[in-house]
Symmetry: C2
Subunit: 152 residues, 2 copies
């Protein structure tokens, strides 16, 4: 599913990735650097919180999702340049030991009005845990180049 | 601006954070772990890309924005629990050495229909570089508890 050109896109095209395990040490390291709130850093504080246990930062789940897009998602030729994200949600928390994978699906194809060499695709990316529960959902708009004209 | 209860919220309430520098080594380390595409990892590949130079992953900018929210954004009492993000966009790339700060502003206050002890706030979080250019914008919906009743 990598190296897609605009001509290759089809609504409904789908890809499923492998899994990444969210280890406790990684959850704490990410949180210490980017989201140092007690329920991401300390088990005791997690138990006392809204979440009832230590949970990963949503931004750690989002970054891990990007990793899964690079290794097994729907990707444009020349790399996946995000024009923006709609509807990023975290319906269930991610807990230490959870194993995440993604399902990507093209939901819309948008030719560029101004740039003849590229277009846009909207891709729904759903991140699931080992129990099949959705831990993140988003719709990502990516830039997809048209296939270069062949030399004559 | 930390420890806000629902009763404290006002549309238009604003906070501005300090700066974080996006260092080349940090950009590459984040990309190696979460977004290993050549234009985030290698100067030469960056120059040959869409971006004309090595740039930070948008998810690195997003994670750094969370760090700025924790240290100087609009934050709810009991921690900032994100119910979701609308309209996450990266209108300008982040390059090595850029210094980022955020401006947060409450744009909507939503009482909960089902939960009397909390409500929601929509916060526009704009991430700017040292030249005042917006490198990320988003609207984040956060859960804000009501102030606990006093003991009698």
């Amino acid at each position: 599913m990598t190296n897609l050109y605009f001509e290759d896109l089809q609504v409904g095209l789908r890809a499923e990735s492998e899994e990444i395990e969210m280890r406790l040490a990684d959850i704490k390291a990410f949180a210490a650097q980017f989201d140092p709130q007690p329920f991401h850093l300390d088990e005791e504080a997690g138990r006392a919180s809204f979440f009832g246990g230590l949970v990963a930062s949503g931004w750690h789940t989002a970054a891990t999702t990007m990793r899964l897009i690079v290794s097994g998602g729907i990707r444009a030729a020349e790399g996946t340049v995000g024009a923006g994200i709609q509807e990023l949600r975290w319906p269930q928390p991610v807990r230490p030991g959870d194993r995440l994978h993604i399902v990507s699906e093209i939901v819309e194809i948008i030719p560029s009005r101004s740039k003849p060499d590229r277009g846009l695709a909207r891709v729904r990316v759903t991140t699931l845990n080992q129990n099949g529960e959705t831990v993140q959902s988003m719709v990502s708009t990516i830039v997809v180049p048209r296939r270069p004209a062949k030399d004559i």
